[in-house]
């Protein structure tokens, strides 16, 4: 594919754009000005960057208070600490309170690689999507990161943006219009659907290209919004054939779980869930860990071939949509 990007650049550029247009926009950080790529923001709006120090519970509470005071805070920190350390504040001060706070979970998934499981954030989707009133978004490339930031700012309520520092190519065509709660079909197909988000979308597209060479037509659905999930797009995919979900997250309660919840209720089909298999990762770089746990285009390809073969004799009854 094409050039690789660090989506944090699109994130910080979007935050500056938003702050220029709306004086209510502020950034809150936990000593993470550098890791959240907010040096330019700080220079531009020194009074609108609030550094609370290394104190995530306080940071999320302060975010709720800033929103009570009429501001629109983007609360930015490494996703592992922002969600895990402050989970009760996310539940009560943001979700239950319906506070207009945007959580930006930086370096999510296994982006911190060799730093190990303490710094991996592969449970954050399960945690945040279990909380009522939360909107949960996992952008896949710079354009979607920027669009998700603008959509989050325009939406009145708590949003968790799960961002990455892993290099990714552009996966969306020019003119792509992001909508909260809507999946984006990036590639049509007739045999099965690959549903992915975040840094796994480009890998799903690569897998689909590999499958095409073997005569398998795989659709690729980018499911950036995990809550509320796009039920219509999932039911359409299920009506067509089996589904593989691919996520940079544990398979317990993440994207795969969210998709499966819709599939089993609305249109049961065979599924495979690719992700981290419910164990803490060994030492290794992100790319090493993706290889180790099979989150590569080639392994997606193999999983797809196997699933299509298993489903060869299976026929599905009626399309629930009539």
């Amino acid at each position: 594919m094409n050039t690789l990007h660090d989506c944090r650049k699109a994130f910080s550029k979007a935050l500056i754009e938003l702050a220029e247009a709306d004086p209510r926009i502020v950034a809150v950080v936990n000593d993470s000005v550098g890791s959240s790529n907010l040096k330019d923001f700080k220079q531009r709006f020194p009074d609108r960057l609030i550094n609370v120090g290394i104190a995530e519970q306080n940071m999320v509470g302060i975010g709720a208070g800033l929103a009570n005071g009429g501001l629109v805070p983007f609360v930015c920190g490494a996703s592992c600490f922002l969600t895990g350390r402050a989970l009760e504040q996310v539940k009560v001060d943001l979700g239950y309170s319906r506070s207009n706070v945007k959580l930006c979970g930086m370096s999510s998934g296994v982006a911190y690689g060799e730093l190990g499981p303490t710094h991996h954030s592969i449970e954050d989707l399960a945690w945040t999507r279990a909380i009522a009133n939360m909107t949960v978004v996992v952008p896949a490339d710079p354009a979607e990161t920027s669009a998700a930031m603008h959509a989050a700012a325009a939406y009145d309520g708590p949003v968790f943006l799960r961002l990455s520092r892993m290099p990714v190519p552009d996966v969306h065509p020019a003119g792509y219009e992001f909508q909260l709660g809507r999946g984006a079909l990036l590639r049509g197909g007739t045999h099965l659907t690959l549903i992915a988000n975040g840094v796994m979308v480009c890998r799903a597209l690569e897998a689909a290209a590999l499958l095409e060479e073997e005569g398998i037509s795989a659709a690729v659905l980018n499911m950036a919004t995990v809550r509320p999930i796009d039920r219509t797009a999932i039911v359409e995919a299920a009506a067509m054939g089996p589904i593989i979900t691919i996520e940079e997250h544990t398979v317990y309660g993440g994207l795969g779980g969210a998709v499966a919840e819709v599939v089993v209720e609305s249109h049961p089909v065979r599924m495979r869930m690719l992700g981290f298999p419910g164990e803490f990762a060994p030492t290794g770089s992100p790319e090493f860990l993706f290889e180790h746990f099979g989150l590569t285009p080639d392994n997606i390809r193999r999983a797809a071939l196997k699933l299509v073969e298993e489903c060869a004799g299976v026929t599905y009854a009626t399309d629930p949509r009539g």
């Binding site: 004086p23 209510r24 502020v26 009074d47 609108r48 609030i50 609370v52 120090g53 104190a55 519970q57 306080n58 999320v60 509470g61 302060i62 975010g63 709720a64 208070g65 800033l66 929103a67 009570n68 005071g69 009429g70 501001l71 805070p73 009760e88 504040q89 009560v92 001060d93 239950y96 309170s97 319906r98």
Partner: protein, 285 residues
């Protein structure tokens, strides 16, 4: 408002109003807890005078416009004392007083812990301890950023200060020089299971707050005159957040409840309720 330059006559009126409101809060709270069959009457009673002082003239609020951007904010961090909070809000005009009888009844907006999306005048959803002060720091900081002149008040329990999030917020408040923020600690010296000092020592509490950069006053938190006087003098020091350590008695106002740990969440029987209401007395006017 007028507080900085209150005349002695104004002060007397404010103190009398606070004392009257405190009695009503206590009467409502005990009736609510009795009717609901659960609640936290000990803490409702210890904080009644603090709430009464705030809601009888200190807070610059308009119950007809509960979301007015420039309003003073009061955050009840000890959300389990919701009966006292709802009573104060009802007497202030946010909620019809008749609706207090719905406390904790099925589908009531008056949940055991307050919900700002259901009850006008509630600023923050609290219940888990250690949430109110960080939120209050954010509210006070928002005033600084947006140029608002509202003041932020937050009431915590004392046992609640065992939660570490309070101390994260304490550091931030003094670092940000939030002299538009006032913390009141309901220092009743009892927590759910035991005395605070037998559980995890809080003393020297005033010294601890001073060490964290706060301006501290210790007062009798069940004395409306002391409360009104303290609130008329905030900020205690320019550039520092203010901390009022309100020394209170759990169950204050009812002899058989005072300073007894079991009234943290014991429910008065009909006989106990009747005896308590007699002790508290009716409004004289």
């Amino acid at each position: 408002m007028q507080h900085a330059s209150q005349s002695p006559a104004d002060r007397e009126v404010a103190v009398a109003a606070a004392a009257r409101l405190a009695r009503r809060i206590r009467r409502h709270s005990l009736q609510m807890v009795h009717s609901a069959g659960l609640g936290h009457p000990g803490g409702d009673m210890s904080s009644a005078d603090i709430l009464a002082a705030l809601y009888s003239g200190v807070l610059r609020i308009n119950p007809a416009d509960p979301a007015a951007p420039g309003r003073d904010r009061f955050i009840m961090s000890k959300g389990h004392c919701s009966a006292a909070l709802y009573s104060a809000l009802a007497e202030a005009g946010y909620v019809p007083v008749e609706r207090l009888s719905e406390y904790m009844k099925p589908l009531s907006m008056l949940n055991g812990h307050p919900d700002r999306n259901k009850v006008p005048g509630v600023e923050a959803n609290t219940g888990p301890l250690g949430h109110g002060l960080p939120i209050a720091v954010g509210v006070a900081k928002a005033a600084r950023i947006s140029g608002g002149d509202w003041r932020t008040f937050v009431l915590t329990g004392d046992g609640e200060l065992q939660e570490g999030s309070n101390w994260e917020a304490a550091m931030a408040a003094s670092h940000f020089q939030l002299d538009n923020l006032t913390l009141i600690v309901d220092r009743n010296r009892l927590q759910q299971g035991d005395r605070t000092e037998s559980t995890i020592t809080l003393e020297p509490l005033a010294e601890r707050w001073r060490a964290f950069g706060w301006a501290v006053r210790e007062i009798d938190g069940n004395d409306p005159a002391a409360l009104v006087s303290a609130f008329s003098q905030i900020p205690f020091e320019t550039g520092k957040p203010s901390c009022v350590i309100a020394n209170t008695r759990k169950g204050c106002g009812v002899s058989f409840m005072e300073d007894r740990a079991e009234w943290h969440h014991r429910v008065p029987t009909a006989v106990e309720l009747a005896a308590a209401l007699i002790e508290l007395g009716e409004d004289s006017e």
